[in-house]
């Protein structure tokens, strides 16, 4: 099992998560998700802008499982 403490220092991850009224972007380490997008495409598109800043983008299905994991562009 990777050590989560060291993992959080070295990797930055952003999650695209289903919410009751749309799709949210949640950066790991922040206490709350950012604003809710009406549809998944808009949320994914917004999250992808963070890939260039060194974030992995993890796109979840509605049930929380992983649909796609896009590695950061470093």
């Amino acid at each position: 099992m990777p050590d989560r403490r060291s993992e959080s220092k070295t990797s930055r991850r952003v999650h695209v998560i289903a919410r009751d009224k749309g799709w949210a972007i949640k950066k790991e380490g922040l206490s709350k998700a950012s604003r809710i997008h009406q549809n998944k495409e808009a949320a994914v598109s917004s999250a992808r802008t963070l890939r260039r800043r060194g974030h992995d983008v993890i796109i979840h299905r509605k049930d929380g499982s992983i649909e796609r994991w896009e590695k950061a562009r470093r």
Partner: protein, 221 residues
């Protein structure tokens, strides 16, 4: 006189289907129970071909103060499918245990989940007037209903349902990454034995707690 059962007040009997169609709801349900500090008790936790399932159910019902019954899958959904009566049957055992057995089982509390409000009444009219909570087949709503039920009955307060849902999604990423590294394929993840999943959640929560503790201590100083 019955001797007290260890962990009785932390045990939660989970009465739901364990097939692949229910996995999207079962995972967040088990995660929430563990997240809030309780112990999910399921019939799959031990596998002994020589043991009858009904005996396992009765054993788990008796040692659990809490129980969660999801009746959303009892109705046949296809033409040739029969009704699935295990869930209402086990709910009956649980209620019977509370009513007829002496001792700490009188303190038992249960949460009944359904897909839509009042769906169950068409086939279980004996339960009319009982508070049944709808989850709409939505994993986030399962988390909210389970969280709110524990808060109402015992905890008083806890992390919000939205926070638990976000943490569950982060957990799923770690779960996926770890299993992929270990050579598991998607099918292995879908069919992963429930006890193995529970162990993984426990380890993740423990690691997360040890990671968060220094931060809270820091703030306190």
């Amino acid at each position: 006189m019955n001797s007290p059962v260890p962990d009785f007040s932390k045990n939660v009997f989970i009465n739901c289907p364990f097939d692949s169609e229910y996995i999207p709801l079962l995972r967040p349900l088990l995660f929430t129970v563990l997240y809030l500090g309780y112990i999910p008790r399921i019939t799959l936790e031990r596998f002994d071909s020589g043991e009858q399932r009904i005996q396992k159910v009765c054993d788990l019902v008796q040692v659990s103060k809490f129980s969660i019954h999801d009746l959303s899958r009892m109705r046949a959904r296809r033409k040739s499918e029969t009704f699935r009566m295990n869930m209402p049957f086990e709910l009956g055992i649980d209620i019977g245990c509370r009513l007829f057995k002496e001792g700490e089982t009188r303190k038992k509390v249960c949460l009944i989940l359904e897909k839509k409000s009042y769906d169950y009444q068409r086939s279980l009219s004996d339960m009319s007037g009982v508070d049944v909570r709808p989850h709409g087949d939505e994993p986030e709503r399962v988390i909210r209903e389970v969280r709110n039920w524990f808060v109402t009955n015992e905890l008083g307060t806890s992390s919000s349902a939205a926070k638990i849902w976000e943490d569950f999604n982060e957990f799923m990423a770690d779960f996926y990454q770890r299993r992929e590294k270990d050579g598991f394929k998607d099918a292995d993840l879908e069919m992963m034995p429930v006890p193995e999943y529970v162990i993984f959640v426990r380890e993740w929560l423990a690691r997360r707690a040890s990671y968060q503790e220094p931060l809270s201590l820091k703030r306190a100083r």
